[in-house]
Symmetry: C2
């Protein structure tokens, strides 16, 4: 079960909270981008977009060396949001969004073990494009050292989900015939654009073709 | 010019920094979701997804009452990220993403003036679906009071952009014929799904049809 601590227990709209770890895993596995929140040296919040991959009950986050030094061994908040739809209700007040979001809090660990770092990088590359790790040239020691990877346990997390039609159907019974509904939002991978430095006869490999449009 | 302060001056990959306010405006205007970072009562970072709208040099953020009380009159960081592509390089090390992101920092103000609050809600609704404000039922006083809106000035912001092909074309000259390129990523609005509570003869209005698939 997720959310064992008071600070990951939703205080409002509790019906939107999910406590099944498979929801958390599915959100992390689908999202291409995450947002890493930390507190800077002056005590102010800072939120940076980055990329991640889940391995079991750990999420690995690709960090710039700057963000990694700021975040290492400190409390962070990793938030992942999948927007699924714009909820256009009859009343402005009931307008909403369909979404699945995960908020993970905890002390982050900078990965220093070379083997764990390499497998974390593999997870991130494979998360973004399955099959790409075996296709690409592996990082050498210098490159690995220049790449910061952070690890965050998933044990303190909350998942919030809203799906379905607008929340003010009672207005229809009151005679409101205004249109209301949901505009679905999806993230789409398009046709691969080959690097212009390559000779024209280099074809898009099967794993990239299968992953994209 | 954006980024007048040291903390919004990029320390690395400075070539990705943009200082033109029109880039910032375009990113805020295109994004459907933003991430609001704040520091909670225990000093830990918290990042919540929400929705926003820009009006001139201010961004209005729709907040839950909980987030609004946490954030009011405190330092926040509002981050908006548009993912444009997966950059599949030849070497793992050069893998990247094409994106446009904005990081806005500053002290947030909770909007209490009813007129400003109403026009901020109008901006948020119109941002998400142009034409929807005139279509929907306006909030009454009770609903307006129950909706928290935060305002953040755009004067301390940084914009970071990466576009274009993978960054390791030199490997081609060295004889590497591995495919490399970009998989474009786009956010797509689908065909509107009418609320099941409505009679079958209520048609999707023109402003929603024009906005979606």
């Amino acid at each position: 079960m997720l959310s064992p601590t008071p600070r990951t227990q939703l205080r409002r709209k509790r019906d939107r909270q999910q406590t099944d770890p498979t929801s958390l895993h599915a959100i992390l596995d689908e999202a291409l981008v995450c947002h890493l929140g930390l507190v800077d040296a002056d005590g102010a919040p800072l939120v940076l977009p980055t990329m991640h991959a889940r391995v079991g009950d750990v999420v690995y986050v690709h960090g710039s060396s700057g963000a990694a030094s700021l975040a290492a061994d400190r409390e962070v908040c990793l938030t992942v949001t999948l927007l699924d739809g714009l909820v256009l209700a009859r009343s402005v007040f009931s307008h909403s969004a369909n979404y699945r979001s995960a908020v993970i809090r905890g002390r982050v660990r900078r990965v220093t073990d070379p083997d764990e770092q390499l497998s974390a990088l593999e997870a991130v590359v494979e998360h973004l494009t399955p099959g790409q790790w075996d296709h690409a040239r592996r990082p050498d020691r210098k490159e690995t050292a220049a790449t910061a990877v952070l690890a965050l346990d998933l044990h303190e997390a909350s998942v919030k989900v809203r799906q379905g039609p607008p929340g003010d159907p009672e207005l229809v019974a009151e005679g409101d015939r205004r249109w209301a509904g949901v505009v679905p939002v999806t993230t789409v991978l398009g046709a691969p654009e080959t690097c212009p430095a390559l000779p024209a006869d280099v074809a898009v490999p099967e794993h990239v073709r299968a992953w994209s449009a």
